[in-house]
Amino acid sequence: MLKVRTVEPEERWFEDFHEGQEFPVITRGPMMVGHQVRWAGACDNYESEFHHDEYVARAQGLPGIILSGPLMASYLLTAVTQWLGRHARLVRFFDQNRGPTMPRDMAHLHGRVRRAYEQDGRCLVELECWITNQRGEVTTPGSALAELPRRPGGGR
């Protein structure tokens, strides 16, 4: 029906990850109100008006529109799935809404392997991940755990 021109995550295996490994930073932004509107549409939720109404946001004492925390976390989660490759299955993800992201802010997505280990026959990669803005402030710290297969045939 439709020719799909998408981007498949790279092929990576458990052996490709080691403690302390840093992932290439992925940058999103500048964020726009449109990103928030598109997210609100995907969630079908328009209740918190400070996410899209400048007047309401200011009336509530905010400096302006604040982008949704789960939106930023979802960017981070997507970055994790890209870093870990197409065979990874996410087991857990955690994020904290520590600082606001506003329109025109940048979002730099960072990740680092905390541990790559085997447990009960499962190969697991645990990583910490976080978002910084253009001022270097951490807005969204997080962590993830994923299961990966070993490279077929062994070896590197």
Partner: protein, 177 residues
């Protein structure tokens, strides 16, 4: 007339008709719900299979004008419509008049929607595929108060199902200036 935007290249587009293009997915209940909730028109014909309307249409249908907005970013379009991130001038709209039709090569930036003429024949049911083909009916230039305007008249035919049951026809005028 200071500048004539109706060049040979523009004139060659008049009468050009696209192939049938299919919407990015068949009519889904939640897309219909989003539409009528955003329109604030909770008519049972859009969701209640037991309503008297459903007998007429053979089940819940999408609102009459639903098809007009069913042609959104298809999965094979990799370019993010919000992707002009950082360009403070970018207004968020595509300069493509219709999928399937080439752009009209005029150097004007602003686009206004002048209006529509609709003719309705039937409504799409849940699960039906929506198809559209478009044509440039006319492209003309007028002198406005703030300079030249190019009026692009587009005709769209919408149909559904394997038998291409007509849904609606629309004639719309886009004003670029």
């Amino acid at each position: 007339m200071a500048v004539n935007h109706i060049t040979d290249a523009v004139r060659a587009l008049i009468g050009l008709r696209s192939d049938w293009i299919e919407a990015c997915h068949p009519v889904e209940a939640s897309e219909v719900r989003r539409f009528f909730q955003a329109l604030m028109d909770p008519n049972p014909r859009y969701w209640d299979a037991a309503s008297p309307a459903a007998a007429r249409y053979g089940g819940p249908v999408a609102p009459p004008g639903f098809a007009v907005h069913a042609f959104r970013r298809p999965p094979d379009e990799i370019e993010d419509p919000l992707g002009a991130d950082g360009d403070p001038e970018f207004d968020g709209t595509s300069r493509l008049v219709r999928r399937g039709l080439p752009r009209v090569p005029v150097p004007l930036r602003g686009v206004l929607n002048g209006g529509y003429e609709y003719e309705f024949f039937s409504y799409p049911r849940l699960g039906e595929r929506i198809l559209c083909r478009s044509a440039y009916r006319d492209i003309t230039q007028r002198e406005g108060r703030s300079g030249p305007m190019v009026l692009i008249v587009v005709e769209d035919e919408y149909a559904t199902g394997g038998e291409f049951r007509p849904l609606l026809k629309s004639v719309s005028t886009l004003i670029t200036r």
